[in-house]
């Protein structure tokens, strides 16, 4: 075709980015890669390799080592050996390494971008303009955190050896999100890149060596799910950080339950993209391009559920269809395409299947007549309308360029539909009315909300999910917390398991007093246990102190329902919550004599007196905290306000320690309710009679019904029901090690957040251990709301 003909047709021609340098690099490695352990390339112990391919051509790019448990073991050993040396470095020295990594990424940015696109199939525009610049930014930002660590996180220490498993959709960016905070906080790393996309991680390994990073600080072991499993199960790994599917997240939760491994999970999503009738519709449509057609829709936070206000739905669908017809799908290295290749045949198959299923369930499928390349793995941009909340395509994560559209009538309905999902990763809200936008942002259950924008990321802003989208954050201060632990906690002694109860008949006590009936406390009312049974409470000296109600799973069920109804507590002002807490202190103080006397039956008089006094102080402390646990305003590099808001987790199930029945209970329940959570608590099994004292205090302190619910009984049984309950958002367990393990294992169903003492003893009388930010942080989750502005 001549220039003249091109002048007439005005079409785009091919505009391929040169891949020569990246291919030369592959050739230098003879297109075969071992693992990177101790700054050396190591052949796989099994001798097994697999291919990594270019998904747009099916051409083999290189042979990749399949990591075995043995390889993982070598890598973990190297990371362990490197740990003390790495931690002995000054914060400044670690900052220099991170800075060097950032510089090197920048210097080799184009080669890394091309390599990423070859291996993953994403458009070169995205790897060049989004992925790699964000990688460099992440290392720069965390070089800063490395420098500031001792000032900003006093009393904290690194987890140790960290195992990290990353997905194939943003291979190098996810590596950066994992490695940068881990190194900045003084951990050493064993990272397993995704099987489909290992190349940029291997290129990064080479960069680590170039900057002289001490051997063993970063180790990279390639392989498939088996390799990841070996890493998760390795006994000498202190923390697992995982990004991937919710299904695998659940397996990791269970697999690590019997260890002390700290875990952070960044899982799937089905994020709502809400467009109100007063939105800039053309810009919202462009937002969809950046939302669901970014990286072929293979994005965990992709705005895959379109919620359109009814009055504009028809017009909007027309606009979306027109825009879809302009999207260019083609060779990923072409600089003028919008969508590249799907990463692997299995993924393409999954997308096809789900779209077919959507249509079979009644959806109408719109696809433009976009030309797709003859070979390679491609799928056209797709819009499904006539989708309902019951549709598979409205519930399941498709992880492809497929948008499922529904309508809503009112703001309230929009929020309801948006939250009608097991996920809670991200959301986009489009409205020109700041009241509407912020109202919706505040009500959506997700870790990130983008107002009039979508898929914005920055190292300074935490990213992570609510609900089954996982827990923990990546980026920002909250992301660093995932790689740190309080120093005292790491050294805390193991809880002594209480001696088996003697079968001896308890001695009866003073019978002159009127018989005292203690009941369960559910929904602000004293309630008889469903079972109709009570159990004897016996003092350490074997004296019968009274009977406690024997709660069962139905009582837990009722308590959780009552807690859910108390959601208004979260909307109460922080000042209001503080007032209720102060009032509690006042009322506890009024009853101090009586409660001390009761407690003194269980422990020494002196200890009872101290415990009541410490409890009053603790209530004051959390009354003080209630309106002071502020969020933050981040400064990402754009014109924008990013609000990091601390929101309550929801309903928290708490298994309280046996010792310090009053102080232990309050130390756990107060931080939760101070921040607006509702609680279902299992009190000290050995001295549950404390319930009787507590509800008198609660009832007289204007604590709304259902905010605190207390069910006594056999802790292990109650804990099981509570930890398994799908309407519980977090489970806290501060008993023995077996209880912690049970809580973790049983939490996997809805991936509720887990906070335990790891079976370690906490000195509740020491406010450095038993009070403060550590608890408040677990009682809250950070929601980052991005609000670009400008007129």
């Amino acid at each position: 075709m001549s220039i003249l003909e091109k002048f007439e047709t005005m079409e785009y021609g091919p505009a391929l980015e040169d891949s020569k340098e990246a291919l030369v690099w592959l050739d230098q490695h003879k297109r075969e890669f071992g693992h990177f352990i101790n700054n050396e390339w190591v052949k796989p112990s099994s001798g097994e390799y697999f291919d990594t391919n270019d998904p747009s051509t099916a051409d083999r790019l290189a042979k990749i080592a399949q990591g075995s448990a043995e390889d993982i073991n070598e890598a973990v050993k190297a990371a362990r050996a490197a740990l003390s040396g790495w931690q002995k470095l000054t914060p400044h020295a670690r900052a220099r390494y991170l800075y060097a990594l950032a510089r090197q990424v920048q210097k080799h940015s184009r080669r890394l971008a091309v390599l990423e696109t070859l291996d993953n199939g994403k458009p070169i525009r995205e790897s060049r303009d989004i992925d790699i610049p964000l990688v460099a930014r992440h290392f720069y930002h965390h070089a800063g955190w490395a420098q500031l660590l001792p000032q900003e996180f006093p009393g904290h220490t690194a987890c140790g050896v960290v195992g990290q498993i990353i997905p194939w959709n943003f291979p190098l960016l996810m590596l950066a999100w994992k490695i940068a905070p881990a190194l900045a906080t003084g951990n050493t790393v064993v990272l397993k890149p995704a099987e489909f996309t290992p190349l940029t991680a291997l290129a990064f390994a080479e960069i680590c060596r170039q900057v002289g990073l001490p051997a063993g600080v970063v180790n990279i072991v390639t392989g498939d799910g088996r390799t990841g499993e070996a890493l998760v199960n390795h006994p000498d790994v202190d923390k697992i950080a995982f990004t991937g599917s919710t299904e695998v997240g659940r397996l990791i939760r269970k697999a690590t339950a019997k260890s002390h491994k700290k875990i952070s999970l960044e899982l799937g999503g089905k994020s709502p993209f809400i467009i109100f009738d007063d939105a800039d519709l053309d810009s919202a449509v462009e937002g969809l391009v950046d939302g669901i057609w970014f990286n072929q829709g293979q994005v965990c936070c992709a705005g895959s559920r379109l919620l359109m206000q009814e009055s504009i739905a028809e017009r909007l669908v027309e606009k979306i269809r027109a825009r879809m017809s302009k999207l260019r799908v083609g060779a990923p290295l072409d600089k003028a395409i919008d969508m590249g290749a799907i990463v692997a045949p299995v993924q393409l198959e999954r997308i096809r299947k789900l779209v077919d299923q959507g249509v079979a369930e009644g959806a109408t499928c719109h696809q433009p007549e976009t030309a797709l390349p003859d070979k390679g793995l491609f799928f056209p941009p797709t819009l499904l309308v006539n989708v309902h909340p019951t549709s598979t395509v409205a519930q399941q994560e498709i992880f492809g360029p497929v948008l499922s559209a529904m309508t809503f009538r009112t703001l309230r309905e929009a929020v309801e539909l948006a939250n009608n999902t097991a996920y809670g990763l991200a959301a986009s809200v489009w409205s020109e009315n700041i009241n509407v936008a912020l109202q919706v942002a505040s009500q959506i259950k997700s870790g990130v909300v983008w107002v009039n924008s979508t898929n914005l990321f920055d190292a300074a802003c935490g990213f992570g999910g609510y609900r089954e989208s996982g827990y923990g954050r990546e980026g920002g201060r909250e992301g660093l917390e995932e790689y740190l632990e309080p120093e005292w906690f790491k050294r805390a002694p193991v809880v002594k398991v209480s001696a088996a109860k003697s079968d001896a008949e308890p001695k009866t006590g003073d019978s002159a007093a009127i018989d005292r009936t203690v009941k369960l406390y559910i929904g602000g009312k004293q309630a008889r246990p469903d079972s109709g049974y009570s159990y004897s409470v016996v003092s350490p000296k074997g004296v019968l102190l009274g009977e406690a109600p024997l709660g069962n799973r139905k009582d837990i069920r009722n308590a959780v329902e009552a807690a859910r109804k108390a959601e208004g507590w979260a909307k109460a002002t922080a000042h209001n919550r503080a007032q209720v807490l102060y009032y509690m202190a006042e009322n506890l103080s009024q009853r101090a004599g009586e409660i001390t006397r009761n407690l003194a039956q269980f422990e020494s008089a002196k200890s009872a007196e101290q415990e009541v006094e410490a409890s009053i102080q603790r209530i004051f402390a959390y009354a003080a905290w209630a309106d002071k646990f502020d969020g933050a305003v981040h400064a990402p590099p754009m014109r924008n306000v990013s609000l990091a808001m601390n929101e309550p987790v929801g309903t928290i199930g708490i298994a309280c320690p046996d010792d310090a029945p009053l102080l232990g209970f309050l130390s756990l329940v107060l931080p939760a309710i101070a921040l607006g959570n509702a609680v279902v608590a299992i009190p000290s099994e050995r001295y549950p009679l404390i319930i009787g004292d507590l509800y008198q205090v609660f009832d007289t302190s204007d604590l709304p019904a259902g905010v605190v619910n207390i069910v006594s009984g056999r802790t292990s049984e109650l804990l099981k029901t509570l930890a398994e309950h799908d309407d519980i958002d977090a489970i806290w367990c501060f008993r023995d090690e077996a209880s912690s393990q049970a809580a973790k294992t049983l939490s996997a169903g809805n991936l509720k957040q887990v906070f335990t003492n790891e079976g370690r003893a906490i000195d509740w009388f020491d406010s450095a251990q038993g009070e403060g930010r550590w608890f408040l942080r677990h009682a809250s989750q950070v929601k980052n709301i991005w609000v670009p502005y400008g007129e």
Partner: protein, 345 residues
């Protein structure tokens, strides 16, 4: 083959189809010239433009699309064919205008065009844009070339002279032979949301223009907000403007991609609702070949190929041509060029 020989499609019947939202919608295939509509204040008030989102889209226009090699050549030639070669300086003279007209007829050295296989294109710019004073000079110089003469008018650039004088100015320029009139709007009508006044003003200019092609300059750099730009675009189109144009070139901020994007979206919406096609002219601040390609892909992406010709798209520029010539020579010879090798306008 001439680049200006395509004829505007004739006016068709106006059958509206309601789309359920009370917005009349037209079949997309319709290509009617703009005859204006009644002022629809609801439509004007309804406008929503999110500045940050528009800026994000504008930022990636140039990174999502690019043309290379022969395609780039073809696009650059297209850019030239859509140029209003302009001189609007206080020191303009007849000789300066004659030089400009000569360049308009032969914008690129013939040898370069031959090497590119585009010798038969008879490449020329779309129009020459001058002050009224030089209209006759330009008309004489361009006689028979197929290149239009455009006059800036109506108290250019501020547009603040009395309305009668501004209308007279249009008539005088048409009498002098101008085939296109670039009018300026009264910016304060926009700030004051005096949409009736703005509509009447532009409509009266259009009436004075009669069949002569009218471009309405919005002075977007003065309008400050993108919402104002969108609204002013709508009112100008409703009042019958054949083209809407960003700037006089005299404001401190001239044609920017975000502003262009907003105006082009307004044109698209207007076409969708009325079936009438309005042209677009970014002017001022466009100096490089690369910028010209970005603007062309903006038009292609947002409006489609129907708009990618001089009937519906113009560049108001002068310096841009020199950069394009150098790029074309590079394509022709494989060697990077120097500006002194190309005849100045």
């Amino acid at each position: 083959m001439s680049v200006n020989d395509s004829v505007r499609p004739a006016a068709g019947s106006s059958i509206y189809s309601a789309n359920g939202n009370g917005h009349p919608r037209r079949a997309e295939s319709e290509h009617l010239p703009n005859r204006g509509t009644a002022l629809d204040l609801d439509w004007v008030e309804d406008v929503a433009v999110n500045t940050s989102a528009v800026e994000r889209r504008a930022q990636t226009l140039g990174t999502r699309r690019t043309v290379k090699k022969d395609w780039q050549c073809a696009w650059l030639l297209r850019a030239i064919s859509c140029m209003d070669l302009t001189t609007l300086s206080g020191d303009d003279s007849d000789q300066r205008v004659l030089r400009l007209c000569a360049k308009a007829k032969r914008p690129v050295h013939h040898e370069v065009l031959e090497k590119l296989g585009a010798g038969s294109l008879e490449l020329k710019v779309a129009a020459v844009c001058v002050y009224h004073r030089f209209v006759e000079t330009a008309v004489r110089a361009l006689e028979g070339s197929g290149i239009n003469v455009a006059a800036v008018s109506t108290g250019f650039p501020a547009g603040l002279s009395p309305i009668e004088e501004r209308i007279q100015e249009i008539k005088r320029s048409i009498d002098a032979g101008a085939q296109e009139i670039d009018i300026v709007i009264t910016r304060s009508h926009v700030f004051g949301a005096k949409w009736n006044e703005l509509y009447d003003e532009v409509a009266s200019f259009k009436e004075a223009c009669g069949k002569v092609h009218m471009k309405a300059i919005l002075g977007t750099g003065d309008l400050v907000t993108l919402r104002n730009v969108y609204r002013a675009s709508l009112v100008a189109m409703m009042a019958g403007a054949d083209f809407i144009k960003t700037s006089t070139g005299k404001e401190t901020v001239n044609a920017t991609l975000p502003v262009g994007l907003v105006m082009v979206r307004a044109i698209r919406e207007y076409h969708e609702r009325t079936g009438m096609m309005v042209g677009f002219k970014p002017a001022g601040g466009i100096r490089t070949a690369k910028q010209s390609l970005e603007w062309l892909s903006l038009i292609k992406e947002e409006l489609g190929n129907d708009w990618l010709n001089a009937n519906y798209f113009r560049f108001g520029a002068s310096g841009m041509l020199g950069d394009i010539e150098r790029q074309l020579e590079f394509h022709a010879t494989g060697r990077y060029s120097a500006d002194y090798r190309h005849a100045i306008a």
